[in-house]
């Protein structure tokens, strides 16, 4: 019984910790209905912050145990509870929620959104049920991620016999360990490393992402927009099938996608709390995979450039950038101190001679990534929809800054992926075959964010003054539910 249920308690506590962080950031008001509405975002915030803290602890010798996990959760929740106290006096009453009205008076929009949510619920329920006994069969799932999780389950620290041993160098010991720590927390709660006990929980990551994206963008996009688009994303085999391989690409893309949404919202509303949320999510992406670091740098680079052009607070942005860097440093310092190096020759990646010698790797990489992005059977038209949303925004002038952000981010991440294949020491065909269908997760999540966000703004503009979204102050943050 413990093996079945206790890992779900880990998820619950992650949501509690994340709620504390959101309360501390004042992204969510201390009201039951508002906190319930933010549970998806809370779970991912907890799944971002708690493992990062535990990794920092591991790097300085603090053991990874359920006790330290509970302490971190309590600190996050406690800080949130204290910080949110001062909010209570000035809080606004809860808004009338449309689905509390009689169902006969629901508008068609609500029925459509409700149908999409019901289908999403069906998919997640069937998915979790099907994953109850599903083993980890993906190569990297057992060879890299679960192997490390197993070590973090059996041992409380980064034992030398594994983490710095040349015998295990092929398991990419330098890779960030956010995902193995998340896995290990579940295994520890279960009391045993069980290859069948993990994949049911990855569905929670997907459910939480959809929930969080809808929560963050609900002030910008009506349910008629976000519900079908997020259903498309969840139902895309490129998303859920990958999650069930036990690879870390989609979990990383989930963090990066929420980071992109938060940054886009910050660019349009200049609300520092959204920038803080972006920091949390991008740091988690960077701590999950090296591609996540690249995505974080790309997204922050684009947002910073737009901030400079638009005269936004650069001091805030610099602080945010520093926080992301600080969050990823513990693991990087630990690996550097123990002589662990990755197989990507990053320093050569800016050497013109090295790049020229390997320029024949560029076009095949561009082509292969393009082919994967064009696989609509896997990605359910998210990219064409995003392209239309960006084009419509740029032409109409609605949300042009945000469209520019998403477009430039997509291009820069694509360039980053091509660059990584360009400089990789691995045989190109082999490398592309094994990874191209996975590494496009981040660009696809940027497409999803762009489609929901921009279509939402365009539909608001189309609805005129009567339906115009209240985008002068972000309604989904703190002041209302």
């Amino acid at each position: 019984m413990r093996a079945e249920l206790a890992p779900f308690a880990v998820d619950l506590l992650l949501a509690l910790a994340g709620l504390g962080v959101l309360l501390a950031l004042r992204l969510v008001p201390r009201r039951a209905s508002a906190m319930a509405a933010a549970l998806g975002l809370a779970y991912l915030t907890g799944a971002a912050v708690v493992p990062m803290v535990l990794i920092a602890g591991l790097a300085i010798g603090i053991p990874l145990t359920l006790t330290t996990y509970a302490v971190v959760v309590l600190i996050c929740a406690g800080v949130g509870a204290m910080r949110s106290r001062s909010q209570e006096e000035g809080r606004t009453p809860a808004a009338q929620v449309r689905w509390t009205r009689r169902w006969r008076s629901w508008p068609a929009e609500l029925w459509i959104a409700g149908a999409c949510i019901a289908l999403l619920g069906l998919l997640v329920a069937v998915g979790m049920f099907s994953a109850l006994k599903m083993p980890l069969t993906g190569w990297d799932a057992w060879s890299i991620w679960a192997r490390k999780a197993q070590m973090l389950t059996v041992h409380d620290s980064l034992i030398e016999g594994f983490w710095t041993s040349p015998s295990y160098s092929w398991t990419h010991l330098d890779y960030p360990i956010q995902y193995p720590v998340w896995e290990a927390l579940h295994f520890r709660a279960a009391g045993v490393f069980d290859a069948q006990a993990l994949l049911r929980h990855v569905w929670l990551l997907l459910l939480a992402f959809v929930w969080a994206a809808a929560y963050l963008l609900r002030g910008q996009a009506r349910p008629l927009v976000w519900a079908p688009l997020l259903l498309l994303a969840a139902a895309a085999p490129g998303v859920w099938e990958q999650l069930l391989t036990g690879y870390a690409d989609v979990p990383m893309a989930i963090f990066a996608g929420l980071g992109a949404i938060s940054l886009a919202l910050w660019l349009s509303q200049e609300d520092g709390r959204l920038l803080a949320l972006a920091v949390v999510m991008l740091a988690a992406a960077a701590n999950t995979k090296n591609e996540g670091l690249m995505a974080a740098v790309a997204l922050l680079g684009v947002a910073g450039s737009i901030a400079v052009v638009r005269g936004l607070s650069l001091r805030r942005f610099a602080v945010a950038f520093a926080f992301v860097a600080t969050a990823i440093l513990p693991w990087r310092i630990w690996t550097a101190a123990h002589g662990l190096e990755g197989d990507m020759p990053v320093s050569k990646g800016i050497d013109p001679g090295y790049l020229l010698d390997r320029v024949d790797r560029v076009w095949p990489s561009v082509q292969t990534i393009g082919q994967e992005l064009a696989n609509q059977g896997r990605w359910l038209y998210l990219l064409p929809l995003a392209a239309l949303a960006v084009a419509a925004s740029l032409v109409s002038g609605v949300g042009r800054r945000i469209a520019g952000f998403y477009l430039a981010s997509f291009v820069l991440v694509w360039f980053g992926l091509v660059w990584s294949y360009w400089i990789s020491p691995n045989p190109l065909d082999w490398h592309l075959t094994l990874s191209a269908d996975r590494v496009i997760s981040v660009p696809m999540f940027i497409c999803l964010a762009a489609a929901v966000h921009l279509f939402g703004l365009l539909l608001s503009a189309a609805g005129g003054q009567r339906r115009r979204m209240r985008d002068s102050a972000h309604p989904s943050i703190a002041s209302s539910d």
């Binding site: 289908l119 069906l122 998919l123 069937v126 049920f129 099907s130 109850l132 006994k133 599903m134 083993p135 980890l136 069969t137 190569w139 057992w142 060879s143 192997r147 070590m151 059996v154 016999g161 041993s165 040349p166 015998s167 295990y168 160098s169 092929w170 398991t171 490393f193 069980d194 290859a195 069948q196 927009v225 079908p228 688009l229 498309l232 139902a235 895309a236 859920w240 082509q367 393009g370 082919q371 064009a374 609509q376 059977g377 359910l380 038209y381 990219l383 064409p384 929809l385 392209a387 239309l388 419509a392 109409s396 609605v398 279509f455 365009l458 539909l459 503009a461 189309a462 609805g463 005129g464």
Partner: protein, 192 residues
């Protein structure tokens, strides 16, 4: 390029929807709304079969994996690749909790080498190290599978996978136990 074509089709649909909406008398703003909603509706309709296939696929996976025992699930990747998972389970049962090991994987005649490493040998070694975890491998060279002088010196056990203890100096180990021809283990002489 297919991707460019798909993007152009999407933009074309958006433009066509806008033009048609204007022709039927919608204002520019409402036509913009149609540019949003019609493509989303088209995408949902096109994706409907995929959604059905998703559910079918998940149901099939459930049927496939439900009968697996915990052991069968744990060794599933290795058994799918044709590795000797039962031998490795037997090996693990011989180890004391803190025991370490060094594994010798033999080469098959048609072994394919990539960057100096036999692909099959490498796969077997990676899987074996996973299945034998949390026992730790020591002095396991990732590049060369052959036991070098001194390599595995500090291991408690030698594991011979498709190889024979006779290929090593007998002084290095004792108490060899054979699971099947080509599959055996031996206690290292210097083991704790």
């Amino acid at each position: 390029m297919r991707l460019l074509g798909e993007v152009l089709v999407a933009l074309g649909i958006g433009a066509a929807v806008f033009v048609v909406a204007r022709r039927v008398g919608m204002g520019a703003q409402r036509a913009l709304g149609a540019v949003v909603l019609v493509p989303i509706a088209i995408a949902i309709v096109l994706a409907a079969p995929t959604f059905r296939d998703d559910l079918t696929s998940l149901r099939d996976q459930r049927r496939e994996y439900a009968p697996l025992s915990r052991y069968q699930a744990e060794v599933r990747p290795g058994s799918e690749m044709g590795f000797a998972v039962d031998f490795l389970a037997w090996v693990k049962a011989q180890f004391a909790p803190e025991d370490t090991f060094h594994i010798e994987v033999g080469r098959v005649p048609d072994e394919t080498d990539v960057a100096g490493v036999g692909v099959r040998q490498g796969a077997i070694m990676q899987w074996s190290l996973f299945q034998l975890a949390p026992h730790l491998a020591v002095e396991q060279s990732a590049k060369a599978r052959d036991l070098k002088p001194g390599e595995g010196h500090n291991a408690d056990w030698f594991v011979f996978y498709e190889s024979e203890p006779t290929e090593l100096p007998a002084l290095r180990f004792s108490d060899a136990m054979t699971y099947a021809p080509g599959f055996s283990i031996a206690r290292a002489r210097l083991a704790r």
